[in-house]
Amino acid sequence: MGLINDMNDMENESISKNLKEALKSFESRTMQVPAGYFDQFELDLMQKIKAEGQAPQKARIISLFSNQKKYLVAASLVFAIATGYLFFNKAENTTTPIAKVEIINIETLPDELIEAYVNNNELVAEVEWNSAIEATGTNLISINN
């Protein structure tokens, strides 16, 4: 304690007389408080504390998943990668037929069915017929002639 006081004295010696005087009057000015101020301060403070204690607490919003957030993010990433992989992998391996082609022997078809098909698809049949003729290099005109 004595050592501290000595050190304080040494420090204070470095302070000019003017400054010391000014600091003394500054202290006396700041120490002025109204009479009974601290008793009133205590009363006001305790009232405030009690009022705060009685005030309804603000509802806290607690996120249900606040602790599991990182796991949720990781799980959704794994899910996205897995579904992406499965989707693209499946798309590569499977050859989905655009139209199912069934080879039917025309001889097995009944004549009525062929006639009905020709009647219903006359135009188509005509085009098919013409292209078949062109493919063989003949034409109906030359035959007729």
């Binding site: 470095s14 000019s16 400054l19 408080v33 601290f38 205590e42 006001d44 305790m46």
Partner: protein, 179 residues
């Protein structure tokens, strides 16, 4: 009864209010005057001191007594005072005149008549000190706190606290010497 015993009593929940008021009675004046030396205005010091003690009431349950109660208390006071000053500075940017600066730079006419020129100069010099330097100086000069305690309160090193103190003295001396 020591501060430690009162804190334990408070934390145990039995006679919480009497334990708190005992602590308040012991320390209210030193805390209040330290704050007032920082902000000068009585009303401002009152607001800050109220906020400090409300925080003490709310946080004392979690105080682990790793430091002395007074160190912890002054740390709370230091933070509250700095917050208050920062808020005032922010408000200053929106308003044309700042009450604190007004009181620091131009003491009221009534006071000015009473105060000598040197006192007015000192208040101006104090107002010009950075907040940390001001706080360190007040704790050392008026409360005679050791530098370790001051360092712990202001969150600095012992060397930093010493440097703050000497810088404050130097600046105030220079400002007082100016015409």
């Amino acid at each position: 009864m020591t501060d430690q015993a009162l804190i334990i009593q408070f934390q145990n929940g039995d006679a919480k209010e009497p334990a708190f008021t005992q602590l308040l009675k012991r320390h209210r004046e030193t805390v209040f005057f330290q704050i007032k030396k920082m902000v000068l205005e009585h009303a401002d010091a009152d607001d800050i001191a109220q906020a400090v003690w409300i925080k003490v009431w709310n946080k004392l349950d979690g105080f682990k007594q790793e430091s002395a109660f007074s160190t912890w208390l002054f740390r709370v006071a230091y933070n509250e005072t700095l917050n208050f000053i920062a808020q005032k500075k922010r408000l200053k940017t929106n308003s044309t005149q700042n009450e604190m600066d007004h009181s620091l730079e131009h003491p009221s006419t009534q006071n000015a008549l009473k105060e000598t020129a040197i006192q007015i100069k000192l208040e101006r010099a104090i107002a010009e000190l950075p907040e940390k330097q001001r706080f360190v100086f007040m704790l050392r000069y008026y409360e005679a706190f050791d530098y370790e305690k001051i360092a712990s309160i202001t969150g600095t090193t012992v060397g930093g606290a010493k440097a703050n103190y000497h810088q404050a003295v130097k600046k105030m001396t220079e400002l007082l010497q100016q015409a």
